[in-house]
């Protein structure tokens, strides 16, 4: 009985929209790579990842999300252990170069860590029902987010660590914080950052931060990537050049055209109409998710949805903005569209979990 009731409340429009976006992603990856990768290896891999991602999403959809709350500390612990393992392992195997190896380790676990951290956060708020976060609780929340962020910063991968920022915003905005705490937090962070910069960071680490903040190191902000992306998007006009007709992408004038700048391929081949449709699909996804959060059966469900959709919002806004130079270039992929295994799977799992919360919104179900 419970099963039937749940299925009848499953939001198929929401899931369908996510799949349509993923399909558009595969089509754009084909457009961006068929010329330079005649074997279509890139596309094949992406299709495979979408397939695996859908399977994972089904699992995260049909198992009651409260079960995930129960195991959240275990998942979170495994995630932290994996991140620690990566750090230690990276040092041991760097053979001859171990003594100066600076290290860019694989950060796949960090993508899944986003889900686990969101689960931990939602579990916390599920049982915390006071109007505002007191200092102790606030620090606990920051610790939940801070541990994985710190482990990823040590790797050091500032770009990925920064993508955890939306969780901080969610905790502070939706968790409820008095304005005094805002001010004190801001001051402490500023002080710590200043001291860290001055005393603790090695020159190469500073370089990395500067590179992340300003990847082109281009004082005029007219970097090659953005210029090429704008040429691609602008030349698409209203209607676009048509499927497989984008010359900018085909001739490799457009860098990272199947990953960070895939939105420019959309702009070139499908024009403003294509851009508007994809933006509308994303907006629909976000609006639906926020409705899920409002209707959620409990605070835990609401916070889970808000945390997960915050990743979508952050990635979409930053990635789309940098296509036309509204924000500086960063290596942040477009959810469900950019080529990339761990990010695609992560976003599909997030879709599954959000639908899960909505499906079980009735207390008496």
């Amino acid at each position: 009985m419970i099963r039937e009731r749940s299925f009848s409340t499953l939001d198929l429009n929401f899931l369908g929209t996510a799949l349509v976006i993923a399909a558009i992603g595969c089509m754009l990856i084909y457009s961006a790579t068929y010329f330079s990768d005649p074997g279509l290896q890139t596309l094949r891999k992406q299709v495979l990842w979408v397939g695996i991602g859908i399977t994972l999403a089904m699992f995260f959809l049909f198992v009651d999300y409260h079960v995930f709350f129960d195991v959240a500390p275990i998942l979170y612990g495994i995630g932290v252990a994996l991140l620690v393992y990566l750090l230690v392992w990276g040092k041991v195997t760097a053979n001859v170069k171990s003594w100066i190896h600076i290290g860019t380790f694989q950060f796949q676990p960090s993508e899944f860590m986003k889900i686990f951290t969101a689960l931990m956060l939602a579990k916390f708020f599920d049982t915390y029902d006071r109007a505002y976060l007191d200092l102790k609780s606030f620090l606990r929340v920051m610790l939940i987010i801070g541990i994985p962020v710190a482990l990823i910063i040590v790797q050091p991968d500032f770009g990925t660590a920064a993508t955890f920022f939306p969780l901080v915003a969610v905790a502070m905005f939706f968790g409820g914080i008095r304005w005094r705490v805002w001010v004190v937090t801001a001051l402490i962070v500023a002080l710590l950052a200043g001291a860290g910069w001055a005393f603790f960071l090695k020159p190469y680490q500073k370089d990395r931060i500067v590179t992340f903040l300003n990847p082109d190191r281009d004082p005029l902000g007219k970097g090659y990537q953005v210029t090429q992306a704008k040429i691609a998007i602008g030349s698409g006009g209203i209607h676009g050049k048509g499927f497989k007709q984008g010359t900018q992408a085909k001739l490799e004038f457009l860098p990272a055209r199947h990953t960070d700048f895939i939105f420019a391929v959309l702009g070139e081949e499908w024009g403003f109409i294509g851009v508007a449709i994809v933006l509308a699909l994303y907006l629909f996804l976000i609006v639906q998710a926020l409705q899920f959060a409002k209707n959620a059966r409990d605070r835990g469900g609401a916070f889970l949805v808000i945390s997960l959709i915050s990743f979508f919002i952050f990635h979409v806004l930053i990635n789309v903005s940098m296509q036309i130079g509204v924000l500086p270039t960063t290596g942040i992929p477009l959810p469900l569209i950019s080529y990339g295994g761990s990010s695609t799977m992560m976003f599909l799992i997030a879709i599954g979990l959000m639908a899960n919360v909505d499906m079980r919104r009735f207390v008496n179900a």
Binding site: Y224, G234, F253, F272, A276, L279, L290, I324
Partner: protein
Amino acid sequence: MRVYRDDQKFLTFRINALLWAIVGVFVFLAGSFWFVQGVQAEKYRYLSDANALRPVTMPAKRGLILDRTGQNILADNQPAYSLTLDRVVMRPIVKADPTHRAKLIDFLSVVLGIGPQDIEARFAKGKLVPFARPIPVAEDLSMPQVASIQAQSLSFPELNVEPVQRRSYPYGTMSAHVIGFIGEVSEKDLGQHKELKQGDLIGKRGVELMYDEYLRGRDGAQFWEYDSHGRRLAEVVTARQAPVAGDNVYLTLDFELQRRAEQYFVENEFVGAAVALDPRNGEVLAMVSSPEFNPNVYTRRFTPETWKQISSNPFKVELNRAIQGLYSPGSVFKTVMAMAGLADGALGPGTTFDCGGSAVFFGRRFRCWRKQGHGPVAVANALKVSCDIFFYNTGARLGIDKIAEYAHNLTFGEISKIDLDGEKAGLVPSTQWAATKQHRKWYPSETISVSVGQGPLIVTPLQVANMMAAIANGGTVYRPHVVRMIEKNSPDGRVQKLQVASEVLHKVTLPPAALQTVKLGLWKVVNEEGGTGGNARVAGLDISGKTGTVQVIAQSGWFSTAGLPFMERDHAWFASYAPKDNPQMVVVVFVEHAGAHGGTDSAPLAKLLYESRFRNQIETARLDLTNPATLEMIKEGKLPVPGQTTKPPAIPDSGLGH
């Protein structure tokens, strides 16, 4: 007081606030895209049609490889010219004039002096390069070739002459096996390193390969505006990405030692290897493998003739015999036997065996190298005269598995983890090895052969040097390394020097009394009359060592192999360290098919290297008239009278010996 909130209201309000903020941002973004795609579309369409911006790679300067001091550059870069072809420019020309392609191939065939089919082959290879990137056609253009191509730039605008940096090895064959060489990336390399692209040059062997990540640097790019006819207009300077030069790599090699050692092999026409190590930290001071090859030949595209010449060389020039050559250690292994016997208690410092020239073990007769025998000998003197009978007895007492245990502890049977590619592990036999690898029983008589370094036991010269270093420093096994320091050059001009730390692989417990006895024996080998290593003796320096002679063919009697055909002659070893009380250098010399005793062909090189390395110390000792040994030697005419100038140590000719 606890304040409970009205949950639903609080959340709903804030969710709605977020919702409207997001709708606002989406509207703003859509507006921005409308501005670019609607209002400015014409401008961007024009730029797109013109293929306005195109990247031109600025190759990074590959890091230098220098000797220990940095005074000698062993791998350098030289300016050269390459020819590339831009297919983006060529395509519209061929569309307009279908005969253009044939004309181009004729032209290139004449200028480059190669057949049209070779040019077609190079074009075909270029199909793997992304279309927007120029494909390499030829490198190392001569100035007349550059001139002819530039004269025809209007007819063939798709051809570009590009200044590049070509790798060069100024000293030719010198330390070629350590430095290695570079070459074009293979498909396999491309799969493993995402940052590489078709046509890139990367390290293929030696330090060039092992430290490629540091040496390579990062290519930069210029971005040029092109018009719709493919003509280059102006560079977008703000978009330029400067190339980052590779890091300089300082080797541990001592230029002088390396040069002398190589010269010795070349002048005597010896095949073999030599290794000089610092026993205090594992730094390789010299590493020679003879014959050598010229890495300059390898950095260019091979002609079929070059290939034939290299692959048909019977001495396998590319083989680094110091780390890849596997040989029986011969009598050098008696050092390990003496150490094992004393440490294990099978021998005492006074244990004596009577050598009568031959003896029977396990029903088989084994000979000593000296037909008339050595008489009764104890361990130190057994090392000195290299008595086989003594060590046959030692081996019989220890058994193969004890021998194997000590051999493993003293670095044999496994790679030493040196920072060079392709190192071989060798083999230390044991009963377990016979059972698992050979599926047979180990015969005790085989132990007798292993006791004098024959039988299935095989080692590399580097392992022998590592063993000697462990004896010299009292039991510490270091990881040998050929790189001392990496000098990182940041684009902003900062220089960061990263020292390679010495790494202890393991420590062997060598009882002090046993160590002292073995060291005494090794000292006697070189410094006492009747020792087999007298050819390495240097007045004023206490050198300790062990000679070795390896039979290549089965011998049924006592005779010299000097007159035999090359491939049947004996190998000659000399493994040593100095000074005896404070060892600072280990030298191992190995000569393949020398035909003579280890002390004759190998020891003189060790002597040369010690004389070079400890020149000041030797001179001081020779002037010390309070030293009775010095006075004795001056009397005998072996040393010049102080005040007279000494001749620099000369390189002896191959006929020297006793």
